[in-house]
């Protein structure tokens, strides 16, 4: 394997030449980072034992292209959308070659190069990779904004076991998100249900786009039994998405501070017009606009400071 630092300084043409010499598949259409990765055979992110197992499991089965893409993404590999299955497998395999035993690569941090005078303990604390699960079953939903919810989940070893069993029976797992605004949810009365097919071995979190702001949602993870009935394994907390429009209530409640007297008045709406910065364009690239959404006049991003 070649020295990463030395390669970083080279031009893409030079790297491509090296790629040819080293018989790297598809070197001619790779971008710089991809070439660097291919030539040095490593990705930036460390491969933990868990990930290693995941990779093996994935490659041993008959991976779908999207599963491979997801894995490549998870490993921090750069790849192109049009890459073939075999090429992706090739890239992922190279990670295994670099980390043959799946040992966690010990990430060391520089101690900012200062002399350690008053230190009571000479052994610096190692910063290890954290484990993913604490042996509990948990599913959590967190509102990101009025239209997005983040879910994450962790499993107890019992549930892990059950999942393995289900996987052996080739049962597909789903994340379901229920719109349960203003109702007592009984498992079947949701206003609407969003469903996502998931590989729970590689996915422990998900962002979902939900149709309504100012609404309540519940997440579930589960599968369909032979009778076509959905069997939930975990259920999340209730998540409320914030409102993104004006209240339609026609009441104003008031308090007189000196007397403590409360009274109501009919609302005539806000006295001040609300002016916001809108987003638009003369040629519509909606994808881009959707990403920009709504730019608030907000705090500037500061370099490295909270």
């Amino acid at each position: 394997m070649l020295d990463h630092e030395e390669l970083t300084g080279m031009t893409v043409d030079k790297l491509k030449k090296l790629g040819r010499e080293h018989q790297i598949k598809g070197y001619y259409k790779m971008r710089k980072e991809e070439l660097l990765e291919a030539l040095t055979g490593f990705s930036q992110s460390p491969v933990t034992e868990g990930t290693h197992r995941q990779i093996c499991a994935l490659l041993e089965g008959e991976p779908k292209i999207y599963e491979l893409r997801k894995m490549a993404k998870q490993l921090g590999l750069t790849f192109q959308r049009n890459m073939k299955k075999t090429e992706l497998i090739d890239r992922i395999k190279r990670v295994l070659v670099k980390h043959p035993n799946g040992k966690p690569s010990s990430k060391t941090f520089s101690s900012h190069g200062t002399s350690q005078t008053k230190q009571k303990r000479t052994q610096p604390e190692p910063v290890r990779e954290l484990k993913n699960s604490y042996g509990k079953d948990k599913m959590v939903g967190l509102a990101v904004n009025p239209h997005w919810i983040h879910f994450y989940w962790v499993f107890s070893s019992q549930t892990e076991h059950l999942l393995d069993e289900l996987a052996q029976r080739e049962i597909t797992m789903y994340l379901r998100v229920y719109d349960v605004s203003m109702i007592q949810f009984d498992g079947s009365n949701a206003h609407r249900t969003l469903e996502y097919r998931l590989d729970l071995k590689s996915t422990q979190k998900y962002y979902v786009h939900v149709p309504s702001a100012d609404a309540s949602f519940l997440g579930e993870i589960g599968y369909y039994n032979e009778q076509g009935q959905f069997i939930p394994l975990l259920r999340s907390n209730l998540v409320r998405t914030p409102a993104d429009s004006f209240s339609i209530k026609r009441e104003e409640k008031w308090l007189d501070r000196s007397s403590g007297f409360r009274f109501s008045e009919l609302s005539k709406g806000m006295f001040t017009p609300v002016v916001m910065k809108g987003i638009g364009g003369s040629s519509a690239s909606f994808e881009e606009m959707a990403q920009q959404k709504f730019v608030w006049v907000s705090r500037p991003i500061q370099s490295g400071r909270g």
Partner: protein
Amino acid sequence: MARGFFSLVLHAHLPYIRHPEHEEFMEERWLFEAITETYVPLLRVFQRLEKDSVPFAITMSITPPLMEMLESKDLQEKYIRHLEKLIKLSEKEIDRTKNEAPQKHKMAQFYHDDFQETLHIFRDQYHGSIIRGFIHFQEKGNLEIITCNATHGFLPLMERYPQAVRAQIHVGKNTYRKHIGKDPVGMWLAECGYTPGIDRYLAEESIRYFFVDSHGFWYAENQPRYGVYRPMVTENGVMAFSRDPESSEQVWSAETGYPGDYQYREFYRDVGFDRELDYIQDFIDKSGVRVNTGIKYHKVTGNQIDLGAKEYYDFYQALEVAKEHARDFAWKKHHQAEKLYDTFQGVQPIIVAPFDAELFGHWWFEGPFFIEHLFREMAKGMSVEAITPSRFVENHLTTLQINTPEASTWGANGYNEVWLNGSNDWIYPHLDEMIERMIELANSFKHEQDPLKTRALNQAARELLLAQSSDWAFIMTTGTTVEYASKRTKQHIERFMKIFRWLQWDEVDEGELQHFEWIDSIFDDIDYKVYATES
């Protein structure tokens, strides 16, 4: 009679970065830069206004971690060493610039005098404790110091756990009392992060008011009759003030805001990067990593001008621009207040303008002078009067709307995206687990008498609070110094989990506990029982 009021709110915050185990530590510079460029310059502004009997009213949230750092003896000593070095560098620069452009030489002299004065104020006038300075102006009635939730934890993402929110707020209040000597009247919620219900915990701690972003009011439970220009009171009896979007845009906006003026100092050209390594190496990080020193010779010059093509900066020219901007802003507030007063048919609006304190001075070098001249302008008899929230409530608020603001933050796009996205979502399973375990510990050791175990329990609470600083998630999103933020997060998680195991197995390692207490020594008076479930 004033047609309306203007309330400037400065939110001063830095994450708790204190490394007693290192003689010098790169990220500790954030505090030092903020002291030199923002906190001391603000005190100097207040002093000048006081001397000239110019009335002014400012609200300032000084967050608990910042208070703890400002009051830490070892950081005070480190700061003095840092500043003395900077003075030495400015001496070298005076010498060096003799043969360079005269504008540079003039500025080198300026920096030298400025740093000397800063050292004098910090060391001789306030004896290292600049909080004393702020307290002085609070006592004079010009400044209202408020607090923030304990470690600037992002409350909307922990609202599922009342104990976690309660602890953040309780510790924020206690730390204020410890350093300021009285109870805080208001609280700045970290990142303006509010969800309905948080006001209940504020009420428990007798906090009287907090702030939310504009859309928190616009989309409130009922429409607020006066928009963002009058406070509302929640059903829990806490008042909320909202941010005026116009003031934000006039000052904040990247394109049209004042700080982008071409005469102003350019932040990104600094001798720390411009000078050759041999010359500068004693004044940058010991590892050789170049850093900002604070000595800068260039001005913004123009839009989209290469850093290399920037022209020389002249402080005195820039000061004139700052005065002009202050005048412009004062008049804008004057007209805004008059217009709102008419629209409201004789009800006085309060225009609330919150900013990060560090914008003034650190990012926008001329910012403190802008503030100074803003109050000088307003003192010339305008329709708008500067006021603090408490004073406004006391004197100008007879009736107010009962209402609940909507969930909101002042982060990009107005919600939680900055603190919850693909770059930082990995922290939440850990933070949630820590909260659950902390509650478990507090409940099962509710009546613990053993001093060692009590210490361990308190340290566990500190590690949790430190891990919850919104700064770590913020840094992961912005992509600078991510390594440090991840490391800090992981270390606090690990230390917490270790302490948890000690308590679980009844084998507290006193030596290591002492080490944790030393390196994470925030909130010495903390009581872990704040996490216990109410019975």
